[in-house]
Amino acid sequence: MEILTQIFSLETLSSTLRMATPLAIAAIGGLYSERSGIINIALEGLMLAGAFIAVVVSYFTGIPWLGLLGALVFGGLFAMIHAVVSIKYHADQVVSGVAINMLAAGGTVFMLNIIFNTSGTSESVNALPYWGPFKPTVYIGLLVVFIAHYVLFKTPFGLRVRSVGEHPHAADSVGIDVEKIRYICVGISGILAGLAGAHLSLGVLDSFREGMTAGRGFIALAAMIFGKWTPFGALGASLLFGFSQAVQIRLQGLGIPTEFVQMIPYIFTIIALAGVIGKSTPPTAIGEPFEKGKR
């Protein structure tokens, strides 16, 4: 009983929403990229870089909103490395993503040292203000999900994105610029991953910590897969995973090993991939470089 009231308290529910926000935002980022046919396991690194830039900009300007903007811009630009390498040079998208993750992990530690002259944690900076019970990024995150649904399933752009991820040659044959669509989508995924990172460093906390994303980029990917590559599915999965993280914090000290709770998102993902809860099929052309003349 004790445990149940602990789990379903109002506090857990609001912390669920806070925990789910970065997952949902990054998952939507991954969704744009993967729906256009580009695997994006760089979300983790893009988030980390976004979290860092947000703090740096807030530190120098004193304005957290500029920090947020900086994270968006930098996330988008940083993702362009992944875009150019995979779209223009047809490199393996998983390898490119791993490289970005490593670059971000190393780069943030290095810059932390140079800018703040510390290792581990930055100084505290001005964080985003509360809007009612939550930070603005929580509301923005929800908005991002609804907009993604609208864009992907109601607009011409979304139709083109889906066609490019399923059958790029068909899209090409009706005059759609496959590469342009993919650049835009990878760019959006970088912007959203940056937003998710800023939520962690300026929303949840007011500073940057080494490796502070702690695998959330991968959990976001899991949420995207568990949500069957749809925005609302990804939101649902993020809430579920966010809930499991919130519970994990509550359960600390109650004698249940937290490792078990940490495993939950991954176990769900494996179950989803194994097809237990209906089939979760990725876009057909995912991971395949597009070569125009090829048939």
Partner: protein, 510 residues
């Protein structure tokens, strides 16, 4: 009258291949212009140049008197040129309407105006007699409808000139008939059509003029009313071609293949084969006729180990092969030419050499222990490529880069070379040229004359009638009748294929 479109001295090279060599083509408004030639002659390439998918090294294109500078399909589409590709360009997960509007979507505010799209699609469909289900997903509709969707896609974009690359290769005879009517109604409404095919009878029936390509060169353009099949075949191949192979008197031996009461489900879990029984003797070709989708595909899959049967028996030489694995069945010397070469016959990103041993690669002489024997692989390829006239003669080429007909020859070479006891050939001449058809037909008859058993499934009734010794007609998963090929006619088979019976059908005077 001036031609609406002129292609002048087009030259297009691929690495190591001169695909178009100084080719000319002109098209008049309202004309159906057929483009024919052997596999790999450069037909699809020439049309892809016109549609802006490839940039030619040399040559000019004039459209309505103006010199064109086409850079990408978008330009061609804007000019009013539409193309239906040899391999369909449809997104399976999108609906028919979405596929048709893709790239030129009607909008209301920021949104796609899907109601307007569906209305427009239905309006076009009615105007040209192209019946489609606008809200169905493309992956759920039959190929015949996919074809109509492709044509609608071009018309929706306001195509004045329509390129059809082998549109009839995957259609049933009824669907082909429907397509002709569509083509005629299109030209009546002022559209012009370039039409690629290997079927000379079709060409003579439907086209106004014919341009022939051979090995990348334009051989000439003739007026349809002044030519005939023999002349066209000679222009295409450069020699006399036997349009119908002569068949020797059959010499049947004992029963080799025995199938009784075989049943199976299709992919959707519905009964697709219902208690099918037949026998094939040594030295006999059993043809299977039927409208596509009446269980032929499932029958072949069960016989080759690609699908599990739910009941029945299947013996070769008295040994049961019932529900054995594909590998076991291959090892029992059952050869298979699959109907969908991209799905089952080839690995497109492997070389010709590797594809020539696919499925046999683990055995002597191609493998020794866990290693492949590269010398033997190369030798095998060097022998088969000229013997089966696979072009280009390059064993290192990727299967993907070959033309459709040459891809088919790779499979035929592989499956025939290993001396099967029982040959299962499903649509063996789909998409191949007259020369290759003659060649494949000869090889099939050779198998029979050597005392092997052959099961021939084909949507081409003339092919079934001329090759088979007996013909089984399938309808809704059952064999409704087995007739002697000598007594079979297209009409008789047509009645059976539609589910009628010969007594009833003939008594009704049809």
């Amino acid at each position: 009258m001036e031609p609406i479109l002129e292609m002048k001295a087009i030259t297009k090279r691929f690495p190591g291949v001169l695909a178009n060599d100084n080719v000319n083509l002109d098209l008049y408004q309202g004309e159906i212009h057929a483009l024919i030639g052997e596999n790999g002659a450069g037909k699809s390439t020439l049309m892809s140049v016109l549609f802006g998918m490839y940039t030619p090294e040399e040559g000019e294109i004039f459209y309505k008197g103006q010199k064109l500078d086409i850079d990408g399909p978008q330009d061609a589409i804007e000019l009013g040129i539409g193309m239906v590709h040899q391999h369909f360009m449809l997104v399976p997960t999108l609906t028919v309407a979405e596929n048709i509007i893709l790239g030129s979507e009607p909008k209301r505010g920021l949104k796609i105006d899907i109601e307007k799209a569906i209305a427009k699609v239905n309006e076009l469909a009615n105007k040209f007699g192209l019946q489609v289900d606008a809200t169905a997903k493309v992956k759920d509709i039959p190929v015949g409808m996919q074809q109509r969707v492709e044509i609608l896609k071009a018309l929706y974009r306001g195509a004045e000139v329509l390129i059809l690359d082998e549109p009839t290769a995957v259609l049933t005879p009824q669907e082909v008939e429907g397509l002709y009517q569509i083509m005629e109604s299109l030209t009546e409404q002022g559209k012009s059509i370039i039409f690629i095919t290997h079927k000379l009878k079709e060409v003579l029936r439907i086209s106004d003029r014919i341009t022939v390509l051979r090995k990348g060169k334009g051989i000439g353009t003739v007026t349809t009313s002044e030519t005939n099949q023999k002349e066209l075949a000679r222009m295409m191949v450069g020699r006399e071609v036997l349009l119908e192979v002569e068949k020797e008197e059959a010499d049947f031996g004992e029963v080799l293949v025995e199938v009784s009461n075989l049943s199976a489900f299709n992919d959707r879990g519905m009964e697709a084969l219902n208690s099918v029984s037949f026998q094939i003797r040594a030295g006999e070709i059993l043809g299977i006729a039927g409208v596509e989708g009446n269980g032929q595909t499932e029958l072949v899959e069960v016989l080759t180990g690609l699908r599990e049967a739910t009941a029945g028996e299947y013996n070769l030489h008295g040994d049961s092969l019932y529900n054995h694995s594909a590998r076991k069945i291959k090892e029992a010397k059952v050869a298979h030419i699959p109907e969908d070469r991209h799905k089952h016959g080839l690995v497109l990103d492997y070389t010709v050499e590797d594809n020539l041993v696919l499925g046999y690669h683990y055995r002597e002489p191609f493998a020794k222990g866990i290693n492949l024997n590269f010398n033997n692989l190369a030798e095998h390829a060097n022998r088969l490529i000229p013997e089966y006239d696979i072009r280009p003669q390059n064993k290192e080429a990727l299967a993907r880069s070959l033309s459709g007909g040459n891809q088919q020859k790779i499979i035929v070479a592989r499956e025939f070379d290993l001396g099967p006891e029982f040959l299962i050939a499903s649509q063996p001449t789909r998409g191949v040229d007259v020369g290759a058809i003659e060649f494949i037909h000869r090889r099939i008859l050779e198998q029979r004359d050597e005392g092997k058993a052959v099961l021939l499934v084909s949507a081409e009734l003339p092919e079934v009638i001329s090759l088979s010794d007996r013909i089984a007609v399938m309808y809704e998963g059952e064999i409704v009748d087995i007739v002697d090929a000598a007594e079979a006619t297209e009409e008789k088979l047509g009645i059976l294929m539609a589910g009628g019976s010969l007594e009833g059908g003939i008594a009704n005077g049809s």
